[in-house]
Amino acid sequence: MNNLFLYKSKEKAKEFDITPSQRAEEIPPMENVSSELTKNLEYAKKIFSIPKNGDVIIREFDINFSKKKVHAFIICVDGLVDSTSINDLVLRPLMRVSPEQGDIRETVVRTLLPQSQLSSDTDIYNALKGVNFGNAVLFIDTVDSAFIIDAKGWEHRSIANPENEAVIQGPHEGFNEMLRCNTALIRKTLNTPDLIMENILVGNTSKTPGAVAYIRNVTNESLVEEVKRRISSIDAEYVFSSLDVEQYIEEASFLPVPQMITTERPDRVCKALTEGRVAFILNGSSHVLIMPATFFDLITSAEDEYLRYPYSLLIRVLRYLAVFLALLFPGIFAALLNYHPELLLTNILLAVSSSRTFVPFGVFTELILMEVAFELIKEAGIRVPGPIGSTLGIVGGLIVGQAAVEANLVSPIMIIIVAVTGIASFTVPSYSLSFSFRFSRFLYIIGGALMGLYGVLSVFFINTLMAIGVKSFGVPFMSPLSPVGNVNKTELVFGAPIWKRGTERENYLHPKDMYKKAKISRKWRQTNGEDRK
């Protein structure tokens, strides 16, 4: 009989601690492809850690050549290659067709493999590198070079609406994560042989393929060289996104203003290229970087170009008003109420004061609380899935807001201020710039609450001085307003009908060719060389 009073300790669960481990042993280099197949096979297995790596396929087979069996193997990654292409266009001809005579290398290239992109390399490491990017590599016994077969066939997102830069009028194509798909979108839109797409690899280990795009006869060479220099000098193991590259190559990381345009729209990239800018496209990223960027590029929406002038003028004016509201409205409100109530009309002041009678907090606390709550709702709305996100917005904005007002925790006027500010901030076309405004808004509120309009204007002075002082790839951020450029100021701020715009490209980009369009671009208006009135 068991002793009932005997203490038995519980079996302790095994605790796990990460223990230091050594770096994997370096694989001894093998420079060239060996003519002995077994050596190549052994090296490939070592490089790809086979059989540990479950997705790397090595298929060994025989080629019937001159009535002899020649051993061969092909290596590729499951999921990265199109298996139908490999089966039908690589393995089938190699295994089924039996050439009688000739050089095996020549026969394989000219007769057996019908792929459009086929190359051979004697450097085994270089040849195997492409396997991670959807290539299949073929090794044949007695042949001292590898055949690199382009058989990319991985799953990717199709071309869809650019989610963050949607327009009502204008193209609805957006970039996806495929480098060549994105470069093709740009090339087919621009349709000029002057368009250059220079390949560049980013990341020491990741070697992420990218392309620097520019128009040969337009873009300033020093600008292109500077972009290439900055990108190629990135000394990091892995770079996956163009947004990472943006942070690596921007000039002032601690200033809130963005120094590059990030876009998902091919038409926007094309327009920038025609102006003499440079674009950078990275594989795996649906955002293309355009440089240099100025404030007026970031404040302009893609749709401004497509709308008729009266409509786009209205939108622009509304946007400037929205920028003012998004940036300064809460700060000015705090300043006026705390320090300069005499400036407001008596009726307005009475209305505001009576609405705040039972609110226990000061203007500053109330504003900060509401702004933080609004930012929380906004952030949560983005992170949670679609239908729940919108519900969250409604619950957060309407129900909690209403409850807070009824509980006298906040005044109705504050709800209006924060809501107007929030709505206004959504009208800023550049996501990065709107972030900059969201960040700066808090500084304006603090300035307004601390020292009234003096505080607000001090923050504004420092903020704008930073914007004026910062440069994006040698171009001042506030160009061409300050320093003065060759662009008409009214056109710059309020736009102009497409035929009435300047005949020259912006001179701050120092393009090779200044000419953009004819002064009279509507030739149909001319009769016998004269403008018909």
Partner: protein, 339 residues
């Protein structure tokens, strides 16, 4: 010295003069000359223009150290450069001090002066840090806005004008007063001497900036004289504020003070910021420092500490003497030595 365009430099000069004249200097003109204050402004501007044209081209392409050492020898030159630096620091400090005093008196009566000065110091630091290139660009970007605000203030004050307030046309009749208020234009002459880059295009810039600033200042003083009768007009320390509070716009905002704040604060930030930058540059030049930004904070702290001392009158007199006596004297000596 960074590159600055003609338009940008002219805007900076205009704002420097305007910040002096219409913010506080206007009261001085009215106190000195009574109803003839606007004639006084015009005469001061003409004198400045004549002086700058006389000096133009004198030190072309030469730095301040080179000019001073050539004229007065190495040892005396070194002392003079130090005096320039001290004068620039004192000028910037006095600007900040006057600004803080008036702001505290009229707008932020409950706020400690030190806090006002600290915020101003931050603005001056930013200006000095980003350099004269950014400051001049800023001046140009704001210039149109300033002009609109100025026009709105004058238009709103227009119903209050009475032409009888102009009499007697020659005010106190003492034309020697022209010389007592020259200091409002002294920054222009001073910066001309110390800034090699600005001097390069001085003729064009000088004519534009003196003409425009003279026009704006004369109109402002004339309007003030028309709206506020003498001797009451001499009582206000801050005339443009008085001018703005005369109007009753009654659309959302009851008064136009907010517009004056924009004009006032920004012109003060720009002028003190530009002086702060020149103080830092002079210090860097004195000791041959390549990295100007490294000493910016130290010089701005010095300016901030000195701004608590009331020395506006002494600095204004020193600036007038320096700008209108020392500079032409140096020009004459330099021309002789070069010959």
């Amino acid at each position: 010295m960074e590159k600055t365009g003609n338009k940008e430099t002219a805007s900076l000069f205009i704002i420097l003069v305007i910040s002096h004249v219409i913010i506080s200097g206007m009261a001085g003109f009215v106190q000195n000359s009574g109803t003839a204050a606007f004639i006084n402004v015009l005469c001061s501007a003409l004198l400045t223009l004549a002086l700058v044209l006389f000096c133009s081209g004198a030190f072309a392409g030469r730095g301040i150290t080179e000019v001073v050492c050539k004229c007065y020898g190495k040892r005396a030159g070194g002392i003079i450069i130090f005096l320039f630096f001290a004068l620039t620091v004192l000028n910037a400090s006095s600007r900040m001090g006057v600004f803080a005093d008036v702001l505290k008196k009229y707008v932020l009566s409950e706020t400690p002066k030190t806090l006002i000065l600290a915020v101003m110091g931050l603005c001056v630091f930013s200006a000095a840090y980003f350099g004269i290139e950014a400051v001049t660009r800023y001046s140009l970007a704001l210039f149109a806005g300033f002009a609109v605000i100025f026009a709105v203030i004058l238009l709103c004050a227009y119903p209050e004008t009475e032409y009888i307030n102009l009499c007697p046309v020659f005010g106190k009749g003492n034309f020697l007063n022209v010389f007592s208020m020259l200091y409002v234009f002294s920054d222009f002459v001073y910066i001309y001497l110390i800034s090699k880059n600005i001097r390069r295009s001085v003729k064009k810039v000088a004519i534009t900036s003196v003409t425009v600033s003279a026009l704006i200042s004369t109109v402002a003083v004339l309007f003030y004289t028309l709206c506020v009768p003498y001797p009451v007009s001499g009582e206000f320390e801050y005339p443009i504020y008085r001018l703005a509070s005369l109007s009753n716009s009654a659309v959302v905002f009851q008064r136009l003070d907010g517009l004056v704040y924009i004009l006032w604060f920004f012109s003060a930030f720009i002028s003190a910021g530009a002086l702060g930058y020149f103080a830092v540059s002079l210090f860097a030049e004195m000791f041959g420092l390549a990295d100007r930004r490294a000493i910016t904070s130290a010089v701005i702290v010095l300016i901030f500490l000195l701004s608590g001392i009331d020395m506006a009158e002494a600095v204004n007199t020193l600036m007038s003497v320096f700008a209108f006596l020392f500079v032409p004297f140096t020009v004459v000596i330099f021309r002789r030595k070069v010959k």
